[in-house]
C-alpha cells in the first residue's frame, strides 16, 4: 500500500481508538486503545503487515524525535525539581532495581511451576 494509504489507516485507527476509549466508564488513553485495536486486527489478519509496513517502520524508528518536544519543556519546569533532584534520582534507581528483581523472581517461579513436569519426565 502507498504511504498516504498507510497514514490514512493509522489516523483512522487513532480516531477509532479515541471513540472506543470514550465508551469506557473511566479515563483511558485513546492511543493505547488504538494500539490494542491494531494488534487485534493484525492477529485476525484483517490488517496485514504489508498494509502498514513503511509507515510503522518510520514511526517506530524516529519515535524518539517526537519525545524531544515535551522533554525540552523542562527548561521552564526546573522549579519543580528545586531541592528534589537527589530524591528524584534515588526513587528512579531504587524502584528500577526492585522492579528488575521482582520480575526475574516472578518469571523464574512461574516457569519452574509450569514446566516442572517436563523436566522430571
Amino acid at each position: 500500500m502507498k504511504i498516504l494509504g498507510q497514514l490514512t489507516l493509522l489516523a483512522t485507527l487513532g480516531v477509532l481508538g479515541i471513540m472506543l476509549a470514550q465508551l469506557l466508564p473511566f479515563p483511558f488513553p485513546g492511543s493505547i486503545m488504538s494500539m490494542l485495536l491494531l494488534l487485534l486486527l493484525m492477529i485476525f489478519q484483517i490488517i496485514k503487515l504489508h498494509h502498514i509496513k513503511q509507515a510503522s517502520e518510520f514511526f517506530l524508528h524516529y519515535m524518539g524525535a517526537f519525545f524531544v518536544v515535551p522533554s525540552v519543556a523542562i527548561m521552564e519546569n526546573t522549579g519543580l525539581l528545586q531541592g528534589q533532584v537527589v530524591p528524584f534520582l534515588l526513587v528512579c534507581m531504587l524502584s528500577a532495581l526492585l522492579t528488575f528483581a521482582a520480575t526475574a523472581l516472578a518469571v523464574k517461579i512461574t516457569i519452574s511451576l509450569l514446566y516442572k513436569k517436563e523436566v522430571q519426565s
Binding site: 483511558f28 488513553p29 517506530l60 528500577a96 526492585l98
Partner: protein, 225 residues
C-alpha cells in the same frame, strides 16, 4: 527574525536536526548513554537560550511533532505482532512477570516518594517511569504529572537498567535468557532492550514483548486507581 521563529517549521527543523545529531553521535560512539533524546533536548535548550527564543515559539512547530506520538504509539502494535509466536508460547510467564513488575514499580515509587518526601506532582510524574515513553507521557498527563519530568524519569530508569542489569543477572544467577529479557524489558523498557538485544536474540525479543505487556498492565493499574 521573530517571524521566522514563529513559523511552525522552525520547531520542526530544530527538533529533527538536533535529533539527527543525537542519532549520529549515538551510532558513532556506540554508547547507550549518548541518548539521542537527551542530546537533542540539551541542544534545543541551548539554542533557544543563546538565541533568546521563547519556548512558546519552539512549541508552535513542536506541538505538531508531539501530535505524532499518538500514531507512533499505535505502531507499537506492529513491533509486538512480529514477536507474536514467542508471546503465545510463553504467555503465562510473560503476563505474570510483567504484572508483578508493573505492580512493584508503581508501589515502590509511591513508597520511596513518601520516604524521601518527594512532592506530589513529582511523584505523579515518576509513576509511569517503567514503561516506554509514548505510554508514559500519556499516563503522565492523565495523572496530571509534568510530562517533561516523566521523559527524564523514563530515560534515567533506562540508564539504571543498562548499568545494573548485567550485575543483577550475576548476583541472582539468572541463566535463562527468557528471564533475563523479561526482567530487563519490564524494568527498563526500550533503552534496556537495546542492551538485551546485544545479549542475545531471545533476550532482545523477550525484552521487546515485556515493553508492550508492561505498558498495557501499567495503564490498567494506574487508570483503575
Amino acid at each position: 527574525m521573530t517571524l521566522v521563529f514563529q513559523s511552525p517549521l522552525f520547531g520542526i527543523a530544530l527538533t529533527f536536526f538536533t535529533f539527527e545529531v543525537g542519532l549520529y553521535l549515538n551510532k558513532r560512539f556506540k554508547s547507550p548513554f549518548l541518548n539521542p533524546i537527551i542530546i537533542a533536548t540539551i541542544m534545543c535548550i541551548a539554542i533557544l537560550q543563546v538565541g533568546n527564543i521563547p519556548l512558546a515559539s519552539y512549541q508552535v512547530g513542536g506541538d505538531f511533532l508531539s501530535m505524532l506520538i499518538f500514531p507512533a504509539t499505535t505502531c507499537l502494535a506492529v513491533a509486538v505482532y512480529v514477536q507474536l509466536p514467542l508471546l503465545k508460547k510463553y504467555f503465562i510467564p510473560i503476563l505474570i512477570g510483567c504484572s508483578v513488575g508493573a505492580t512493584v514499580s508503581i508501589t515502590s515509587v509511591l513508597l520511596f516518594s513518601k520516604w524521601f518526601n518527594v512532592t506530589d506532582q513529582l511523584t505523579k510524574s515518576l509513576l509511569p517511569k517503567s514503561v516506554t515513553t509514548a505510554i508514559a507521557l500519556e499516563l503522565s498527563s492523565l495523572l496530571q504529572g509534568e510530562p517533561s519530568l516523566t521523559v527524564m524519569a523514563v530515560i534515567l530508569t533506562g540508564f539504571v537498567g543498562i548499568l545494573f542489569a548485567p550485575l543483577l543477572i550475576k548476583i541472582f544467577r539468572i541463566k535463562d535468557p527468557i528471564i533475563q529479557g523479561l526482567a530487563i524489558g519490564t524494568s527498563s523498557h526500550v533503552i534496556g532492550t537495546s542492551q538485551a538485544i546485544e545479549m542475545g536474540p531471545i533476550q532482545g525479543a523477550m525484552s521487546g514483548i515485556a515493553i508492550f505487556v508492561t505498558g498495557v498492565v501499567t495503564v490498567i493499574l494506574l487508570v483503575a486507581f
